[in-house]
Subunit: 482 residues, 2 copies
């Protein structure tokens, strides 16, 4: 890329100081008919362009409005003002394209405070705001750090199918995928829908997880990870759910539960640290925003740590590892449980933990990220390894402050007979998963993996609170605009 | 990751020479009851494990069969045999899991030559073969190189929606996505399907391209790229088509057509060079396989270059840049055209180029990768920039030897009035794309981008010939197993 970005210029200005350069960007503000704040998306920081209006055609000056697109050539000089290293003394300005200032009034590009909801309605324009510029640059950094971590550790990236006949969780409401004309669905002699005539010759859905296919790949390549979209057709209109979201699922041959927890902890710390090192400006902006937001809350609901402080602490602290059984003891004996403060009181071993319990453990009891492991088999999926106690499985969840579960995983059941029995008990169709069972037939090995929802991690890193604000074009019930 | 892979051991053996280490893997072969070829997927190379059968339980020796999974502890010593640096003198061997040797006979794990078609039927096991291990490690390297290239050049990774109401190409058969019970589709008072009752409250499809949403992101973030699955419901049963494939689509604000071509060339060379540097062993294996395959062909159909040689040449040569108009002249004047050798003879300017024409230009005329640009507007999409001649658009295709088109892109039409007129002429619904038009209203800028089909590039780099063999679980008409 030959063009210089504003980020290049602001970070590496010494070699162009007192030289003429050309930059491109959008006007964020034009003060006193003299100072243009120019942004090109490469950084949250604007370049100050200084205009001596006497040197320019009136038509140009008139059209330097908010959102206008400019090409500016000028001299780089040390800045007089605070908060910026250099500025550009404009010598030539070109307006690059249309800017309908009247229509702009009804958009989020108009320079005033807009609600997050309004920003969401104009998701195609919110990339141009400071907030969403920061959020999506951080999301990109998180994604790259994930690929880099796995690449450095000899994992191979595997694309598991999006359209599939299999249902990994044995549950989960799925979206159907079809090529049928819904006004004219073919039927067989029994009057049933004839899926053999559909595009794939069978009933197909959008995947809810790539894990099962990922396991087959790990049985050959050793260490693999997926990173792709997954889907849930659940009618959940909450700040935590999306119908379409991105999942990362590593799967490692020869790993046991402890290896899996080690991997999850090392991985999360690497990714968060990468952001701390590579997204400084954006995180400082988000940190300030987070602080402002806390001030609007009642004192006892405020976060104990600032955003950056929270991220630094996660990287620094060793995650607390606690068995499900210990966690239940802690919860049973807690003041909160005894005084009936939980919406779902814990009554006995075997209870499924709710978000309130997870957050109690993380935020109040341990004040640290927590890894829970060895859950009751009845509340976990069929593919998890049955422990010797015959009542727990080698599952693990990583719980984060403010978020709750951020990672869920397990050592997998590698024994064919035990796996088959679990599938029968849990009504998972053995014939449909013939290929999955094969992985336990030909040199079966212990293996383990986990799933991370990308958007949950981006929520954590950015301090945003609604999951619709950390994916460019959220898909939720009754909403698939753009 | 604490565990040592066989790749670690073979490349960095000096620090463990004469030490005891533990390795894990699957048996590829067991010769003379003495030499185990052990593979763990980290590399195409096997570790030779030397077993003195007198030191081991008979039951262990008996179970060291093809595909068996082992944990082996032993001493690393310099190898006596050719072609390997070190071997492992086994001191302790553990069989890790089941291996049903009888059932193995009907699988592709049985050590003999299997057809690619049979391997495809057992896609869940083919990761364990030399060939597909190599192919999927290279695919992973290609993917990582793509992320790394864009990250280094200040592009942000953007996830555009998979489920969408929009149709980027204005054509293309799409898969429907629905939550309806197909036996009981709700209808409105007019008797039409009532999509307001579907999950998203509207008719939705699987995306055919993330470009249009990507453009909106580039209008804020400057340089972006997508990398995600795309779909075509075309009933094409060929070696070149998949119903589900992965696309990379960069989009760059302020770039014109020439910048776009520069980017495409630089990008492709980076990715291919990354593979040459990081996938040596796998490419050498694939190079030999390619050579063997060429020998089975009639002499005049054989490739002029070996696989690695071809990759090196693409990296070294400057791509030939030729306008569509020049290309038509060359084709019109070619012996091939005059003698009627083309299945689709070129008759005049305006003709859409077929694969045979593209390959003639690349493989015979120029003997170099070729970039064609400035195509007739009528054979290209609505969003491409209309040139001043009023009859061509600023489109570009990169053509590769043996593959034909590997990249297609353009400078985009940044002028709102021209774009609207093109949409009207080409019957693209303006109201549905209101958000796309907005990008031309508020500081419109020149911008350009392109699309690369990941599988096409992996075909090129691996020398494979059927696109179903470069994606783990291919989706094609009447086939969605796994």
């Amino acid at each position: 890329m030959k063009k210089q970005t504003i980020k290049d210029l602001l970070t590496d200005y010494k070699k162009v100081l007192h030289h003429d350069i050309t930059v491109y960007g959008w006007v964020r503000a034009f003060r006193s008919n003299r100072f243009i704040a120019l942004n090109d998306g490469s950084t949250i920081n604007n370049l100050q362009v200084v205009v001596d209006f006497e040197n320019f055609d009136e038509n140009i000056i008139k059209n330097i409005n908010t959102a206008a697109s400019l090409k500016v050539t000028g001299e780089v000089v040390e800045s007089q003002g605070a908060g910026q290293t250099v500025e550009l003394i404009a010598k030539k300005i070109t307006i690059l394209g249309d800017n309908f200032t009247e229509e702009l009034q009804s958009t989020i590009l108009q320079p005033k405070k807009h609600s997050l909801e309004k920003l969401r309605e104009q998701a195609h324009l919110r990339f141009r705001t400071n907030l969403f510029g920061a959020v999506f640059r951080v999301r990109s950094a998180v994604s790259f750090a994930i690929h880099q971590y796995f690449n450095q550790n000899q994992f191979f990236y595997i694309n598991t199918p999006i359209v599939t006949g299999a249902d990994a969780e044995g549950a989960g409401e799925m979206f159907g995928v079809t090529n049928f004309d819904l006004n004219n669905i073919p039927r067989n002699e029994e009057g049933e829908i004839d899926y053999t005539q559909d595009f794939f010759g069978r009933k197909t859905n959008l995947t809810v997880s790539g894990q099962l296919e990922g396991e087959t790949a790990a049985m050959g390549l050793g260490r693999i990870y997926t990173f792709g979209p997954t889907f849930r057709a659940e009618n959940s209109n909450t700040t935590r759910h999306l119908a379409e979201f991105w999942m990362i699922e590593p799967e490692v041959a020869f790993n046991n539960l402890e290896d899996n927890i080690d991997l999850a902890e090392d991985f999360l710390k690497y990714v968060i640290n990468y952001c701390l090192e590579n997204c400084k400006d954006d995180l400082e902006f988000l940190d300030k925003r987070f602080e402002e937001e806390q001030k609007t809350k009642p004192e006892k609901e405020r976060a104990k740590e600032g955003l950056i402080e929270k991220l630094q602490n996660v990287v620094a602290k060793r995650f607390k590892r606690v068995s499900y059984t210990e966690a239940i003891d802690i919860l049973l004996n807690s003041k909160e449980n005894k005084k009936g403060k939980f919406a779902y009181p814990i009554e006995a071993w075997g209870a499924d933990l709710q978000s309130e319990h997870e957050r109690f453990l993380v935020e109040k009891h341990f004040e640290s990220p927590v890894v829970l492991f060895d859950y009751p088999k009845d509340i976990k999926a069929f593919y998890m390894k049955l422990n010797e106690d015959n009542k727990t499985v080698a599952a693990m969840d990583v719980l984060f402050p403010g978020i709750g579960e951020i990672i869920g995983g397990s050592e997998r059941e590698a024994r064919l007979d035990v796996l088959k029995q679990k599938m029968e008990e849990m009504h998972v169709d053995e014939h449909e998963l013939w290929w999955y069972l094969d992985t336990r037939k030909f040199g079966s090995v212990p293996h383990a993996g986990f799933g991370l929802g990308l958007e949950r991690l981006v929520l954590f890193v950015t301090g945003m609170t609604n999951i619709r604000d950390v994916i460019p074009f959220p898909r939720t019930p009754k909403s698939a605009e753009f």
